[in-house]
């Protein structure tokens, strides 16, 4: 028996009955579709809202807490910072590149919706072991996806054309849809009228406009996937000719390509590059394919190759990457965005003012991503691969235009509300803005600019086409906004008006196709499933880490830990993102936190994401606390005062008691730390269902934190600076190797208890660093985290380009414990000897234990107790730490 429609759409019987009762009738298909996305976990927070109430959300400097597009914090001088983090986990597992790219697009629009200019992005990524080929593919895909939105990679084959003098860039499918009549199920060709297409002239070897004559659409039963050594993957029909080198230069068909062949790809259009074929595999899948016939030449140009730069002009300034087997099937891709604005120009996502106009701006609406929000709320299974169409296609070029257009439109004073159109597109943006303001809306879907012909009201309401925003514009002042939006070459479409009755009424071709209370849509049912403590917790916690043997060779052990991809430099990834555009970035990626100046002031903001899933897996409560505490230490290590948190909570299925227990415990830990340290949580996102049939991800709450430094000249960085400086360890070291990187790398164990947390000690240690930074007595400050003191020392040496001579106590803690323990509330500082007494005085006042452990100098890291333990040159350290990820990716 076929499943009932509501089930197909992901609603439960209970939810269906509830809708029926509230409406007093059977919902129609459009309405059911609307409920299915807004009542999905992704939009409705059905299983999490109850627990999220534990979070502290207020402080005198918080202007906007959770519930809006983003949280907002006052940073003085009438300026404010908007911040928000979001996940794009599921799409990235299926189609890494586009998934990651849309992740950035969506979060940027959330910040824009607050009326602030996006000034920085941070990526928090979690992958399986880098030894797995699939993980490498996903990692490469996600990184270049971000650098595409960052840097423009090809999405679909797009072509550039001119019609009636207008230039545009659209997908070849879109071109076909414009000219081919509606029946989609037959192969067709259509004549093109007044279309010129950008082409490549083989004789003159230059780009030119050529008249396009015909467009074709046919079905191909199978494809060949060619992977080349330049990292390009081509999907083509077996008969598609490729220029190849085999007994001279010839065109040969894709189907007859073999591994090792040299093909020439028009990646650089002017100079086709030779590249070797690594793999040829056939794909038995029926799909539509398209072609265009061009006057004189067949070489029309597609949006080719990998293009340059940070397209949206927002730098990616920081982030972190962890590798752990649990993420193999389900990588985590979280992106945080930060915006800067003026308090008096802040916007809200509210549909205020009866009679005001509801305007859709940005791209046209297509069929992409339909029911993507519902897709994000189911576990990944074998059928996920067939879900590729549910991943939206991102276009950074339009996104950048949208940023400028919306910010300029807000300046006209005619805009009263702004909302991102992300998950569940028109449905969510209209119902959320109306529900927040207690109003209703009447929408006319005939006014929505469509990319494809014949879209149904269901499809229009649920489309997740990217680069769209909803504006609520003052009645009578529409022209001002229209002028601005159209100047930027974007659609301005008045699609409805704000009404007083609280009803979202949708019309299509003169008929009402949906009529639902906006509040009902916005208020998904809440569930409070019973938490069940998983059996593994006690079992793994009982693993004893007290009697681990001391290593024979400490040099070898340190090298091994430094080469772990969790510890090694992530330069390979962040070099592929533009982290400098906007010229605000003062501390570049690779330090504890990124630091951005606020132009025109002496202020700076520090930002950082953090979250060790392994700690949370082994003890969710403690792990939750550490996520907050460590992010705070990262911020303090730059000299900034932590101010606020945005978070992204990545967990398995909330319908399982064990996950609920992990979730509630982690939240309890985070809430406790955030309250104690007085760092409110102002926005966030929950991502459930991060599991496949074989595996569930480590519960991974990621904390994105913002800090403020009043005088940016007092900033601190992690690298040692001057020979002769004293090296100081702040905080106590306990023999805590449970859950550590050392235990995993050297003993192959993920077990034991994560380090203890004492929030009072955390608070005091942070205070010590922030106050000493203000006094200007420190040369460097570095948080001690994964890999312990030994890794922190090695990093401080490498980042500073100078060595250090360190002496550690011989007892009571054995050297390997002292060096690799991940005890909390610790920092590594260096300072000139003449300032030591001032630091000591301050430490005593604050009751923070400090120890002098050596001095900066030379070009080796030298560590001894009663004998020499470690002696490695900077070069030895660098060659593993800096290049280990690059080597793994390029092998």
């Amino acid at each position: 028996m076929a499943k009932p429609l509501y089930k197909e759409l992901g609603l439960t019987r209970y939810e269906y009955e509830r809708i029926k009762k509230a409406l007093g009738r059977e919902p129609n298909i459009v309405e059911l579709g609307m409920f299915s996305v807004l009542w999905s976990e992704h939009c409705g927070y059905k299983h999490s809202r109850h627990f999220l109430k534990m979070f502290p959300t207020r402080a005198p400097w918080v202007i906007q807490g959770p519930g809006e597009n983003a949280g907002v914090v006052d940073i003085g001088d009438g300026q404010c910072i908007a911040m928000k983090m979001e996940s794009h986990n599921h799409p990235s597992a299926v189609e890494p590149f586009q998934g990651a790219a849309t992740g950035i697009g969506g979060i940027v629009r959330d910040i824009l919706a607050m009326g602030t200019r996006p000034i920085a992005l941070l990526d928090s990524l979690r992958f399986g072991s880098l030894n797995s080929p699939k993980v490498k593919y996903l990692f490469q895909g996600v990184v270049s996806g971000i650098s595409f939105y960052g840097n423009c990679l090809p999405a679909e084959e797009k072509i550039v054309l001119k019609t009636k003098g207008n230039m545009e860039c659209i997908s070849i499918e879109e071109l076909a849809n414009r000219f081919i009549p509606e029946n989609k199920n037959v192969p067709q060709a259509a004549e093109l009228e007044d279309v010129e297409i950008l082409s490549f002239d083989l004789h003159t070897r230059s780009v030119c406009w050529k008249r396009a004559l015909k467009v074709f659409r046919r079905k191909a039963p199978s494809f060949v996937e060619v992977t080349t050594s330049s990292g390009r993957r081509l999907l083509a029909t077996p008969d598609h000719p490729l220029l190849a080198f085999r007994r001279g230069l010839n065109f040969i068909s894709c189907g007859s390509l073999e591994k090792g062949d040299t093909v020439f790809l028009f990646q650089d259009l002017s100079y086709p590059r030779p590249t070797r074929v690594l793999k040829v595999s056939s794909v038995e899948e029926e799909r539509w394919v398209f072609d265009v016939e061009v006057e004189d030449t067949h070489l029309f140009l597609t949006q080719a190759g990998f293009a340059v730069h940070n397209c949206i002009g927002v730098p990616t300034v920081a982030g972190e990457i962890y590798f752990e087997d649990s993420y193999e099937d389900n990588p985590l891709v979280n992106v945080m965005c930060v915006g800067l604005g003026r308090i008096e120009e802040l916007q809200k996502g509210r549909a205020e003012g009866i009679g005001n106009t509801v305007v859709l701006v940005g791209s046209s609406t297509g069929r992409d991503g339909i029911a993507g929000a519902a897709f994000a709320s189911v576990e990944l299974g074998p059928e996920s691969e067939s879900k590729r169409p549910q991943v939206q296609i991102g276009d950074p070029f339009t996104e950048k235009l949208l940023i400028e257009a919306v910010l300029e439109a807000i300046k006209t004073g005619a805009v009263v509300g702004v909302q991102d159109m992300g998950a569940a597109g028109i449905t969510s943006s209209t119902s959320e803005t109306a529900a927040r303001a207690g109003t209703g809306m009447e929408l006319d879907l005939d006014k929505v600019p469509l990319r494809e012909k014949g879209m149904t009201p269901f499809e229009i309401m649920l489309s997740e086409s990217q680069e769209r925003m909803l504006l609520i514009v003052k009645k009578g002042e529409e022209e001002k906004v229209k002028k601005v939006i159209e100047k930027w070459g974007l659609n301005y479409a008045p699609i409805g008006i704000v009404t007083p009755d609280g009803i979202l009424r949708v019309k299509h071709k003169g008929e009402i196709v949906a009529e639902v209370p906006a509040k009902l849509l916005a208020e998904a049912p809440r569930y409070r499933p019973r938490p069940v403590k998983p059996a593994y917790i006690d079992e793994l916690a009982s693993f004893s880490t007290t009697n681990l043997p001391e290593p024979d060779d400490y040099n070898k052990v340190l090298i091994k830990v430094l080469s772990s991809p969790n510890i090694a430099s992530k330069e390979w990834a962040y070099e592929q993102y533009d982290h400098m555009v906007l010229v605000n970035t003062v501390i570049y990626p690779g330090g504890d936190a990124a630091l951005l100046r606020v132009k025109g002031t002496s202020k700076g903001i520090a930002i950082k994401t953090d979250g060790n899933g392994r700690y949370v897996y082994l003890n969710p409560y403690r792990g939750g606390m550490i996520a907050v505490a460590e992010a705070a230490r990262n911020i303090s290590a730059t000299g900034a005062q932590p101010l606020a948190i945005t978070d992204c909570l990545n967990f398995g299925s909330p319908e399982k008691g064990e996950v609920v227990w992990q979730f509630s415990e982690a939240i309890r830990g985070m809430a406790e730390a955030a309250s104690y340290l007085n760092i409110p949580i102002v926005s966030g996102n929950v991502s459930f269902y991060n599991e496949s049939p074989d595996r569930r991800v480590f519960p991974t709450p990621v904390v994105g934190m913002l800090g403020l430094i009043e005088n940016i000249d007092n900033r601190l960085t992690a690298g040692f600076k001057n020979s002769g400086d004293i090296v100081v360890l702040v905080g106590d070291t306990f023999p805590e190797l449970g859950a550590s990187e050392y235990l995993k790398e050297i003993f192959g164990k993920v077990a034991g208890e994560p380090p203890k947390v004492d929030l009072e000690r955390e608070w005091r240690a942070n205070k010590l660093v922030i106050e000493s930074a203000k006094l200007g007595i420190l040369s460097s400050a570095h948080d001690i985290a994964e890999g312990g003191l030994a890794v922190a020392l090695a990093e401080a040496c490498m980042l500073g380009g100078v060595g250090a001579n360190i002496r550690i106590p011989t007892s009571p803690i054995p050297p390997s414990y002292y060096l690799f323990s991940e005890s909390q509330a610790r920092f590594l500082l260096s300072l000139p000897p003449e300032y030591l007494h001032r630091l000591e005085g301050l430490a005593e006042e604050l009751g923070v234990p400090i120890s002098i452990i050596g001095e900066v100098g030379g070009n080796r890291l030298h560590i001894e107790s009663d004998r020499e333990l470690v002696s490695l040159s900077l070069q030895d350290l660098e060659s593993v730490w800096r290049y280990s990820i690059q080597r793994m990716m390029e092998s």
């Binding site: 340059v308 002009g313 070029f397 592929q576 906007l582 010229v583």
Partner: protein, 238 residues
């Protein structure tokens, strides 16, 4: 003469426009206007900046569409009159596409986008853009591009070298042209060139990202300063 007037050309997709504008106005203290790509008259400016970005989405070869836009005709006209034109990163690509500078910029040999600081050797200080530097001086500037591998046929390269048109080369911190210092595979380590008349300059590194000490290098500042000073002594009041 009063303040020197800079035009910062904005194509759809340009994203370093604000940074260039900021450096000229706030750091250098001269005048700067944003100029939309549809503008047909650039005569009211002494200096023209084509900033970095991804003009027209780089949907084709980078810079290939931008060269067709109306503003490029006026850039050409002003260059012919002897005004100063500087193209940074994507701006360099546009100048090359438009034929104002010779050669081509191809994808980096590693086929990856690269954003990092590099060392550059200044090989010609006898240009309006570099007269405040010493010849042979080593500079530290960031690059951020996917397509920065300078390419030209041998005869063009010969001409460039003979005429001293190669202004900047990737180098070691000591100014040596050795293995490992060329981030993108550019021929002859080329990072920046001028035209024969020396009034059109294209470079891949971003001087606007290193014009203040707080950004960890201010080695780019003197490029803008050189332009302003040269314009003040050599160009007419507008």
């Amino acid at each position: 003469m009063g303040k020197i007037k800079f035009a910062v050309v904005v194509f759809p997709g340009t994203n370093c426009d604000m940074d260039c504008h900021y450096v000229v106005k706030e750091v250098l203290g001269e005048d700067a206007d944003y100029v939309w790509h549809t503008q047909e008259d650039l005569s009211p400016y002494h200096c023209i900046i084509l900033p970095g970005g991804f003009s027209y989405g780089d949907y084709l070869r980078t810079g290939a569409i931008a060269k067709l836009s109306p503003v490029m005709e006026s850039v050409r006209k002003e260059a012919e009159k002897g005004k100063l034109v500087i193209g940074i990163c994507n701006g360099f690509q546009i100048l090359v596409e438009a034929g104002l500078l010779p050669g081509a910029l191809l994808k980096n040999t590693k086929l990856r986008f690269l954003c990092k600081f590099v060392y550059l050797r200044l090989d010609n200080n006898d240009t309006p853009f570099t007269h405040l530097y010493k010849k042979g001086e080593v500079l530290r500037m960031p690059i951020a591009h996917f397509e920065g591998r300078y390419f030209a046929p041998p005869e063009v390269l010969d001409t460039l070298e003979r005429n001293g048109q190669v202004v900047l080369r990737y180098s070691s911190s000591e100014g040596e042209l050795v293995e490992g210092v060329n981030p993108n595979g550019s021929l002859n380590f080329i990072a920046g060139i001028v035209n024969e008349k020396r009034n059109v300059f294209g470079l891949m590194p971003h001087p606007e990202r290193c014009s203040e000490k707080i950004l960890s290098s201010d080695d780019g500042y003197r490029i803008f300063k050189s332009m302003a000073e040269w314009a003040r002594t050599h160009l007419k009041e507008l």
